[in-house]
């Protein structure tokens, strides 16, 4: 499958401080790729390099097969959507007026505004002035603006940071729809649940270096200790081996009607991150 993003040995220094150190990865067409790490790990720096807002100190970064410096060309700008931590919306204007501006800039018919607002559950809020919006609504409008022009590649920098679960779910639904339409999504987050929900592959970024990169499912399997967690009716919690011995023991508990619940004892992405980097995510 075609690589939409390809980064080879990229490094970024700010003075003597290393923001990115020998980072290499690729993102395939249609994939949702998660860049996970705590604040200051280099996530935003990576997005800025990949959207030509920043130049790497060394190494190579390609998007759509061309060096990122060429992304300033009109034909590439039309293919990219960016959501950053700053809304970039005009606070005195209404939601509609903001989106209409970007329709004109991206040559998109204004009827698309209704579609994107429906995707983020804001279809009846056209006339609301941006300065009067809640944080959640603001983030949803920003997201609507980012995919207004149906970009082939969408960069999302912490798309649900500081949002409540209801608003986050609205965003997830919108992103799932985009993914189903073939959009490639590059997502940075420190929310592991978000990464598990949305991402096909994730990379753990710590102090500017990629520590681990794989599918969430495979990472959980790789770091699993091979046990099953069983909660018994009497409140006890026991861990059984996944082999024949554990199966036999589980059968006995089940036969005796003592099992409240049983599930695989796989670590979360958050657990794995802590194990690999020794750091917590937030």
């Amino acid at each position: 499958m075609e690589n939409i993003i390809e980064v080879k040995n990229a490094a970024k220094l700010f003075g003597n401080e290393t923001a990115l150190n020998d980072v290499s990865f690729h993102v395939k067409k249609g994939e949702t790729f998660g860049f996970l790490g705590p604040s200051g790990s280099g996530k935003t720096t990576t997005i800025k390099i990949l959207t030509a807002q920043l130049r790497q100190t060394s190494g190579d970064a390609y998007v759509f097969g061309v060096p990122t410096e060429r992304l300033k060309e009109n034909k590439y700008r039309k293919k990219i959507g960016v959501l950053t931590d700053n809304s970039g919306l005009y606070s005195r204007l209404s939601i509609y007026e903001n989106l209409k501006l970007f329709c004109d800039l991206y040559d998109v018919p204004p009827m698309r505004i209704d579609e994107v607002l429906a995707m983020v559950q804001l279809q009846n809020e056209h006339k609301k002035i941006v300065s009067k919006l809640s944080k959640g609504m603001l983030q949803r409008v920003t997201l609507a603006r980012a995919f207004l022009h149906k970009p082939e590649l969408l960069f999302l920098d912490e798309p649900t940071s500081a949002l409540d679960p209801v608003n986050s779910r609205h965003i997830y639904k919108g992103l799932e729809k985009l993914k189903s339409e073939g959009t490639t999504i590059f997502l940075t987050t420190h929310d592991m649940d978000e990464a598990e929900t949305l991402c096909d592959r994730v990379a753990f970024l710590n102090k500017g270096s990629i520590q681990l990169l794989d599918q969430p499912k495979r990472l959980r399997k790789q770091f699993s200790n091979g046990t099953i967690r069983v909660e018994l009716m009497d409140g006890r919690e026991i861990y059984l081996d996944r082999g024949p011995d554990g199966a036999e023991e589980l059968y006995e508990y089940m036969s005796a009607g003592m099992v409240e619940s049983a599930n695989s004892n796989e670590p979360t992405l958050g657990d794995i991150f802590v194990e690999v980097t020794g750091r917590k995510l937030s």
């Binding site: 700053n86 800039l105 991206y106």
Partner: protein, 236 residues
């Protein structure tokens, strides 16, 4: 480089709606109008006085409003959104300048009307004034790009406004201090010189040097603006 008028007009429409709700910026245009109205009542006898008001219009409307428009885009991180869009440098800077351009033009015409200014050659002074508007918008854009907020831009514009509005007052001292003659080549003084010449019957043949000097300043400042803008597209 392609130029899409549709994109520039979209930015202009956005600015118009935005500024119409921004009293801080929109009331600035009243200052030269009030001054013109006062001079209109008391009567104006010299070209220098007309151009004191016109130069104030250039600095307060063209330069100041433009610097505020650009600085606010930077302050609120909206300029980066425009930069990341398919709009080119020319489309963005063109669109961002339209409102200041039209605003300055309207205020200039109103000031001229209030003061009953009737130039000896309307066409020549109009051409020179239109080029001057572009020059002052360039100054405003540069200040907006180099400052981080509207407040900073408002402070940075003050010496510029003072300089371009009141530098003609140094003329009487030029004989005593020859170094001051250098300011004769500034665009605002060239415009006054031109206005004086056309009152004595000068035509295009006598005016081209002043227009070329103003145009030269405009080209230089526009080149600076484009260079600084392109640098601001990338973080450092």
């Amino acid at each position: 480089m392609t130029f899409s008028l549709k994109r520039s007009l979209a930015i202009f429409r956005k600015d118009y709606k935005d500024v119409s709700k921004n009293l801080y910026v929109s009331t600035t245009v009243l200052m030269p109008l009030i001054l013109a109205a006062v001079y209109g009542r008391t009567g104006v006898e010299t070209v220098e006085v007309y151009f004191l008001v016109f130069n104030l219009t250039f600095t307060m409307v063209a330069a100041y409003v433009q610097s505020a428009l650009i600085a606010e885009e930077k302050e609120k991180n909206t300029l980066r959104g425009l930069m990341l869009s398919p709009a080119t440098t020319a489309e963005i800077l063109g669109g961002k300048s339209m409102l200041s351009f039209l605003g300055t033009l309207i205020v200039l015409v109103m000031c001229a009307f209030f003061m009953e200014y009737q130039p000896g050659n309307l066409l020549i002074i109009s051409v020179a004034s239109l080029i001057s508007i572009v020059f002052y918008i360039g100054i405003g854009t540069l200040i907006g790009l180099l400052t981080r907020s509207v407040m900073e831009a408002s402070v940075a514009i003050l010496p510029v406004a003072f300089f371009f509005s009141f530098v003609p007052l140094v003329k009487p001292f030029m004989d005593e201090y020859p170094i001051l003659k250098a300011v004769n080549f500034f665009p605002n003084l060239q415009l006054i010189e031109l206005a004086n010449q056309i009152e004595t019957g000068a035509g295009w043949g006598d005016s081209w040097s002043a227009i070329l000097i103003i145009l030269g300043w405009t080209v230089v400042i526009t080149s600076f603006v484009v260079a600084v803008y392109n640098r601001k597209m990338v973080d450092h």
